[in-house]
């Protein structure tokens, strides 16, 4: 081994970002691990989630109540227009009212470079993705946590499901105090 012979590179330190690679309908995506607050099993939805029957936003079928806020569970496969597969995990996103249904986590790794999305990709994908990253000769889209539900969609969901969630919360609290 020619140890110590390699030139020492000086200059700016390489900025890196921790990411989680996750699977959804046989497609691998990356998300910044800083954007994910909690990872849960889908089993935890049972009992804790309220069904959302608003057909205008088909990718949202469940909502979770967190204090005064509703967190909407987005089916990631449907969001990206892919064939849905049985999800196993939920990502609860940090500082967000969105949770994501995903198939599974591949691994956590580090990204050193985020490439801008090519300008020729000019439709919704510009909202969906922060850009592309290359890992081990693979190109992965890096999802934008803000790209899953717009403010308008959140307001719409609040308006259409808010009363239902409030009623559920009230019933839940009544059941808790019942002898």
């Amino acid at each position: 081994m020619a140890s110590g012979s390699a030139p020492v590179r000086r200059g700016h330190p390489v900025r890196t970002e921790q990411i989680i690679l996750f699977r959804c309908s046989n497609q691998t995506f990356a998300i910044s691990s800083a954007s994910v607050q909690e990872v849960r099993s889908v089993d935890s939805l049972a009992g804790a989630a309220c069904e959302v029957n608003e057909s205008a936003i088909g990718k949202v079928r469940h909502a979770l109540r967190r204090g005064e806020r509703s967190i909407y569970v987005v089916n990631t496969a449907l969001h990206f227009g892919m064939k849905p597969s049985p999800p196993a995990l939920i990502f609860l996103l940090r500082k967000s009212r969105v949770a994501l249904l995903i198939d599974g986590i591949e691994k956590m790794t580090t990204m050193t470079r985020l490439q801008a999305l090519p300008a020729s990709l000019c439709h919704e994908e510009r909202i969906w993705y922060r850009g592309l990253t290359v890992l081990e000769q693979n190109v992965l889209p890096v999802v934008s946590p803000e790209g899953f539900l717009t403010n308008e969609e959140l307001s719409f969901l609040d308006a259409t499901t808010g009363s239902q969630l409030s009623a559920d919360a009230l019933l839940d609290s009544e059941m808790r105090v019942a002898p």
């Binding site: 700016h12 330190p13 390489v14 900025r15 890196t16 970002e17 497609q27 995506f29 990206f80 227009g81 892919m82 990204m111 050193t112 470079r113 985020l114 490439q115 801008a116 090519p118 300008a119 020729s120 990709l121 000019c122 439709h123 919704e124 994908e125 510009r126 969906w128 922060r130 850009g131 592309l132 290359v134 000769q137 693979n138 190109v139 992965l140 889209p141 934008s144």
Partner: protein, 159 residues
């Protein structure tokens, strides 16, 4: 002088899509490369197949054959890597072609008002009249002005 009397002598690259030949101005062509793995991910721009990797950079793949010949290419022998302008910026785009390309020098006749937007000019070569392509009309792209106001800054995580 009318539009069809003005000619301009330029270097062009002839490319083949199925049975037909087209041309691109040589200064819009970066290189011709062998097909490599296409990385596909969900998106809503139907003209783009996916991206390939060239020297660590992602290059979108745009098959022009369907628009120009009405049929998708069944075999892709090479990718012609072309430069596409977006306002003042330029970006590479990989164009699948079905045969080898040829660099020629020819007199170009500018496109006329009745020509399709994808025709930048015409040239004559080997007894064949060939369309010189206008990439901006054939490949999709963001409006640079709108993008400047909307987009998150293109982040290179590398410091």
């Amino acid at each position: 002088m009318s539009w069809n009397e003005q000619t301009d002598s330029r270097s062009c690259v002839l490319l083949r899509l199925g049975e037909r030949r087209f041309a691109l101005a040589a200064d819009q062509v970066a290189e011709l490369v062998a097909p490599s793995r296409i990385f596909r991910f969900p998106h809503r721009t139907p003209e783009i197949d996916g991206v390939i990797l060239r020297r660590g950079r992602t290059v979108p793949v745009c098959d022009l054959a369907e628009q120009l010949t009405g049929k998708r290419l069944t075999s892709r022998r090479f990718y012609l890597i072309a430069m596409r302008s977006y306002g003042t910026a330029k970006e590479t785009v990989a164009l699948p072609v079905s045969g080898e390309c040829e660099l020629i020098h020819a007199d170009l006749t500018p496109a006329g008002p009745n020509d399709s937007p994808h025709v930048a000019a015409w040239l004559s070569h080997d007894g064949e009249v060939i369309e010189v392509l206008n990439l901006a009309a054939l490949t999709p792209g963001i409006d640079p002005a709108a993008e400047a106001t909307n987009r998150e800054p293109a982040r290179e995580a590398r410091g």
